[in-house]
C-alpha cells in the first residue's frame, strides 16, 4: 500500500535531515503506530504521505514514496486529497465552518460532487461515527471527543484508502480517547482502511497495532511488529516495563493477553498505602463549599478540598466537567461562590494580586505565556511583574532545575514542545510561589519529557510546595499524586488515596493496577521486583 524508498527530507535552511534514507513498506488494511520523541519527525513523516511535505513546507526531498500507485511528491496534496484522509492534532484549528455537517461537506463541495451524492456520503459517515445527533449543531457546542470524530468524518467522507491521524487523542480524556480509538479500529476492520496514527501514549494503542514505526533522532527509523520494536526502546508503557521485569516473552500488548501472575503472599503488600498528609491548620490553600456558574449553568457545584504544602493532588475527570473552570476561579479570574482561604487568609474575588504572589498557574497552552526574546528574559519579566530581582547567575542556576541551562539565550518559541513547557513552568515559578496549579502539563509530551516533569514536581514537593495538577494522563498522575480527586458533573465523585482511585474507578485504572488487581501497586515503580 505505502512504500518509501531511501526517503530523506530536510526543512528549508536546515542542514540536518528530519528523515534520513527511510525505507519501509506498509501493507494495506493495517494499523500502524508511529512513535518517536517530540521533534523526531512524526508529523513530517505523516505529511509526506499526502504531499504536504514538500509541496506545502518546501525543503529538500529525495528518494521515493508511493501511496497505492500514486507518488505524492509529484502529484501534490490536491491529488492526494481523495486518497489520504488527514486528521490533525488540534481539531479546532483545522475546522473551516462553524456547523458540523457544513464542515464534513467541505471537501465534497470542493470536488463539485452532485448534491444527492454529498448528502448520501454525509449521512452514511454520520451514521457510522454516530454523529447524527449533532449533525446540525454548531461546532463550538460539541465536546472534544465529538470534535475529533467530526475531524475523522471530514477526512473520511472523500472515501480515501489511507487514514492518517496525528496525535488525535492528546486533548481527550481517557474515555473519549478510547472511544475514538474504537471507531478508528472499526474503520480499519469494516472499511479495510490503512491507518497510520502518531501517538505518545502507546498504552492505549498497542493492543490494536499491527505495525510500529519508531522514528529516531538521527532521522532513521525502526519498523516491525510492536513486540519487536518495543524491545529496542528505553521508555515504554507500564505494561511493557512490568513484562520486562518479569521476563515475559513475547511482550504482551494488552492487559487481556498479559499472563496471569501469581505473586507470593510474602510479597503483597510490600508498599505502604499512600495517603495524604494530615491537614495542617492554616498553611494550605483551602477550597470550601466552592461553586462556579458560567452562563447561568452551575459548572462547579459546592466542592471542598484542601491543598496542603508538600502535597500533590491529581484532579481528574472527563472533558468539559469544569476542571479548568475550577482552576480559573481559584485564581480569581472568574467569579465564584464559597470560600477560598490561602494560608488562613480569606481570598475575595478582587484579591487576585494576593493569589498570584503565592500561587503559580500553568494554563493548558504554555504558548500563552511566552513572548520574550529569550528564555532568560521570560524569567525576568515575571520577576519585574512581582517587583523582584535575581542575579544572572541565580537565574541560570534556576534554569538548571528545568533542564534548560543551555537554552537561556534561545527564543522560547523555537524550542521543542517539552522545552517550551518547561520554560513556561520556569516563568510561572521563578518568584517562588508556595502553591502551583497546573492544567494538563503533559499534553503532547513524550515519555522522556513526562519523566522530567515527574522529577521536577517531586523536587517541588520536597521543597514543601503544594501542587494541584489537572490531567487526563492517569499513568502520570499515578506516579506523582499523594491524593486524587475525581470530578464528575461538577461534583467531587471521589477524593482519597491514589491506590483506591487507580484500582477501583473504571476509566482511571492504571495498567499496573489492572495487571495486579489484588495488590496496592499502581505504577511499575511500586513493584517490589526489579
Amino acid at each position: 500500500m505505502i512504500n518509501l524508498t531511501d526517503l530523506s527530507f530536510s526543512y528549508p535552511g536546515s542542514t540536518s535531515p528530519v528523515l534520513h534514507e527511510v525505507n519501509l513498506h506498509i501493507p494495506p488494511g493495517t494499523l500502524t503506530l508511529v512513535t518517536g520523541a517530540s521533534g523526531s519527525g512524526k508529523s513530517t513523516f505523516l505529511r509526506c504521505l499526502n504531499g504536504l511535505v514538500p509541496h506545502f513546507t518546501g525543503g529538500q526531498i529525495s528518494g521515493s514514496i508511493t501511496v497505492g500507485e500514486v507518488d505524492p511528491i509529484t502529484s501534490g496534496p490536491e491529488t492526494m486529497a481523495t486518497r489520504v484522509g488527514f486528521v490533525f492534532q488540534e481539531p479546532e484549528a483545522q475546522f473551516v465552518f462553524d456547523v458540523v455537517e457544513d464542515e464534513i461537506a467541505f471537501s465534497l463541495e470542493n470536488a463539485g460532487l452532485a448534491r444527492d451524492e454529498i448528502d448520501s456520503r454525509i449521512s452514511s459517515i454520520c451514521k457510522f461515527l454516530h454523529l447524527n445527533s449533532i449533525r446540525t449543531k454548531p461546532i463550538h457546542q460539541i465536546s472534544g471527543g465529538e470534535k475529533q470524530r467530526v475531524a475523522v468524518a471530514s477526512a473520511l467522507v472523500n472515501h480515501p484508502q489511507v487514514l492518517v491521524l496525528d496525535e488525535p487523542t492528546s486533548q481527550l480524556d481517557p474515555h473519549s480517547a478510547n472511544e475514538l480509538l474504537r471507531y478508528v479500529v472499526s474503520l480499519k476492520e469494516k472499511l479495510g482502511l490503512t491507518v497510520l496514527l502518531a501517538e505518545h501514549r502507546l498504552e492505549r494503542l498497542l493492543p490494536f497495532t499491527d505495525l510500529m514505526i519508531h522514528l529516531q533522532s538521527d532521522g532513521q527509523c525502526l519498523i516491525g511488529p510492536p513486540e519487536e520494536i518495543l524491545q529496542e526502546l528505553d521508555l515504554v508503557p507500564p505494561i511493557i516495563t512490568v513484562a520486562r521485569r518479569l521476563h515475559i516473552k513475547p511482550l504482551p500488548l494488552s492487559i487481556e493477553t498479559f499472563p496471569r501472575i501469581v505473586i507470593p503472599e510474602t510479597m503483597v503488600p510490600t508498599l505502604e498505602k499512600k495517603d495524604w498528609k494530615p491537614q495542617t491548620s492554616d498553611g494550605g490553600l483551602d477550597v470550601q463549599n466552592f461553586s462556579v456558574t458560567l452562563e447561568k449553568s452551575l459548572v462547579i457545584d459546592h466542592i471542598s478540598f484542601k491543598l496542603n504544602p508538600g502535597e500533590i493532588i491529581a484532579l481528574l475527570g472527563p472533558n468539559g466537567v469544569g476542571k479548568t473552570t475550577l482552576l480559573r476561579a481559584m485564581m480569581g479570574l472568574i467569579p465564584f461562590e464559597g470560600n477560598l482561604v490561602l494560608k488562613g487568609q480569606p481570598i475575595k474575588e478582587n484579591t487576585l494580586s494576593m493569589m498570584i504572589q503565592a500561587v503559580g498557574y500553568l494554563p493548558q497552552n504554555p504558548n500563552d505565556l511566552l513572548f520574550a526574546e529569550t528564555v532568560l528574559d521570560e524569567l525576568e519579566v515575571t520577576l519585574q511583574n512581582h517587583g523582584l530581582e535575581k542575579s544572572h547567575t541565580e537565574l541560570v542556576q534556576f534554569l538548571t532545575h528545568f533542564g534548560l541551562p543551555n537554552h537561556q539565550d534561545d527564543y522560547p518559541r523555537d524550542l521543542s514542545v517539552g522545552e517550551r513547557q518547561r520554560t513556561a513552568l520556569a516563568s510561572i515559578t521563578v518568584h517562588d510561589p508556595d502553591f502551583i496549579l497546573l492544567d494538563e502539563p503533559t499534553r503532547g509530551l513524550d515519555y522522556e519529557n513526562k519523566a522530567r516533569l515527574v522529577q521536577l514536581f517531586q523536587k517541588w514537593r520536597d521543597q514543601n510546595k503544594g501542587i494541584l495538577v489537572v490531567t487526563h494522563d492517569v499513568e502520570f498522575a499515578a506516579l506523582l499524586a499523594d491524593r486524587v480527586i475525581i470530578l464528575e458533573q461538577g461534583k467531587v465523585r471521589f477524593s482519597g488515596n491514589p491506590q483506591e482511585a487507580f484500582h477501583h474507578f473504571p476509566g482511571y485504572r492504571t495498567q499496573t493496577a489492572q495487571i495486579f488487581p489484588d495488590s496496592p501497586w499502581i505504577t511499575p515503580e511500586d513493584l517490589p521486583f526489579r
Partner: protein, 339 residues
C-alpha cells in the same frame, strides 16, 4: 422563515425604507419590530441582555448624534440657549430643532445597525457566504473563515490575557499589552498555517481556473476602458445613449466573466433550501414593499416619508403606507409563530 433569499429581500426592503425616511415615528415602529425579532432570536439564551445591550447602543448613538448636530448646526427657531459666537465652529444658538434632527439621524444609524445585527442572527455564516457568486468560491471561503475567526480570536485574547495576568502583569499601561499581542499574533499565524494545511489536504481549490486568468484579465481591462470611455463621453455633448451603451457593455462583460469562471469552478453548495409557504409569502411581501418604497420615492404627488424639524418643530405626519412599510420588517415574527 429560513430561506436565505427571503432574508436578503427582508434586508433590502428594510434598508431602502430606513434610508428613505426621516420620519421618527416610522423609524420607531421599525426599530420596535427589530427589537421584537431580536428578542425572539435570543429568547432561549439571553434575550434581556441583548435588548439591554442594543438599547444602550441605540440611546448612545441617538444622544451622540443629537449632541453633535446641536453643536454644529445652529438653525431652527426654538432657541434653548446660546454659545458664545467667538467659539470656533460651535459658537451660536443651540436649538431644539437641531437636536431633534441629529437624534433622527441617530435613529437611522441605529435602525440600520439592528437590521444587520438581526440579519446576522437569522442566517448562518455559510448561508451568507453562499450568496457570493460561485466564481468567487475561494473568496467566499475566506470570508467564511474570517467571520468564524472573530469568536475564536476573542477566546484566545481572553486565554492569553489571563495567562499574563496571573503571571503578575498588571495590564494597566499600553506596554503591558505587548505580552498579549505577540502570543496572539504568533498563535494566529500558527493556526492559519494549520488551517491552510487542513484545507489543502481536503482538496481546496483543486480545480484551478488559472488557465483562463489571462483572458479574464484582458476582458476586465476592456470593461474598465468601456466604463471610463462612457464617463468621458458623458462629460461632453455626445449622445447619452453612447455612454449608457458602453456602461451596459462593461456590465455584460463582467457578468459573462462571472458566469464562465463560475462554471469552471465545480465547487457547489450541497444544501438546497426548502421553500415553505411562509417563505414565499414573506418574500413576495418584501419584494412588494421594496418596489412600493422605490416607486413612492420617485412619485411627484405620492405620500412622503420625509420629515424635517426645521424651521419649527412639529408633530410628524403619518400616512397608512408609511405605517404598513414600517411594520413589514416584523413579518418574520408572524411566520415563526406559525412554524
Amino acid at each position: 422563515m429560513t430561506v436565505t433569499t427571503a432574508w436578503v429581500l427582508w434586508l433590502l426592503s428594510g434598508m431602502v425604507f430606513i434610508l428613505s425616511t426621516r420620519n421618527p415615528l416610522y423609524l420607531l415602529i421599525t426599530i420596535l419590530m427589530f427589537y421584537w425579532l431580536g428578542l425572539k432570536f435570543e429568547k432561549e439564551r439571553k434575550g434581556g441582555q441583548w435588548i439591554k445591550l442594543n438599547l444602550r447602543f441605540m440611546l448612545t448613538i441617538v444622544g451622540l448624534s443629537g449632541l453633535i448636530n446641536m453643536l454644529f448646526a445652529h438653525t431652527g427657531k426654538t432657541v434653548l440657549f446660546d454659545l458664545p459666537n467667538g467659539w470656533p465652529l460651535i459658537g451660536g444658538a443651540v436649538t431644539l430643532e437641531s437636536i431633534v434632527y441629529g437624534a433622527i439621524n441617530g435613529l437611522v444609524i441605529g435602525a440600520l445597525y439592528l437590521l444587520f445585527n438581526i440579519f446576522n442572527k437569522a442566517l448562518s455564516v455559510k448561508q451568507i457566504t453562499r450568496l457570493i457568486p460561485r466564481a468567487f468560491h475561494p473568496i467566499a471561503t475566506m470570508v467564511t473563515i474570517s467571520l468564524t475567526f472573530f469568536p475564536s480570536i476573542q477566546q484566545r485574547i481572553r486565554e492569553i490575557r489571563e495567562a499574563q495576568l496571573i503571571r503578575g502583569n498588571p495590564m494597566k499601561k499600553v506596554a503591558d499589552w505587548l505580552p498579549i499581542l505577540i502570543p496572539l499574533l504568533v498563535s494566529s499565524l500558527e493556526d492559519a498555517f494549520l488551517l491552510s494545511e487542513s484545507m489543502t489536504s481536503r482538496g481546496f481549490h483543486t480545480h484551478s481556473i488559472r488557465k483562463y486568468s489571462s483572458l479574464y484579465l484582458v476582458l476586465l481591462i476592456i470593461s474598465a476602458f468601456a466604463v471610463f470611455a462612457g464617463w468621458i463621453f458623458g462629460l461632453y455633448d455626445y449622445p447619452k445613449l453612447l455612454s449608457i451603451g458602453l456602461y451596459i457593455l462593461a456590465a455584460l462583460v463582467v457578468i459573462i466573466i462571472f458566469v464562465v469562471s463560475g462554471r469552471g469552478n465545480p465547487s457547489k453548495s450541497y444544501k438546497q433550501e426548502a421553500w415553505h409557504l411562509g417563505d414565499k409569502i414573506a418574500s413576495m411581501s418584501f419584494s412588494l414593499a421594496l418596489m412600493t418604497t422605490l416607486a413612492l420615492l420617485f412619485m411627484d404627488n405620492g405620500p412622503t416619508f420625509s420629515y424635517s424639524p426645521y424651521p419649527v418643530i412639529a408633530f410628524p405626519q403619518l400616512h397608512w403606507t408609511g405605517i404598513v412599510l414600517s411594520l413589514i420588517p416584523g413579518i418574520p415574527l408572524l411566520i415563526q409563530k406559525n412554524d
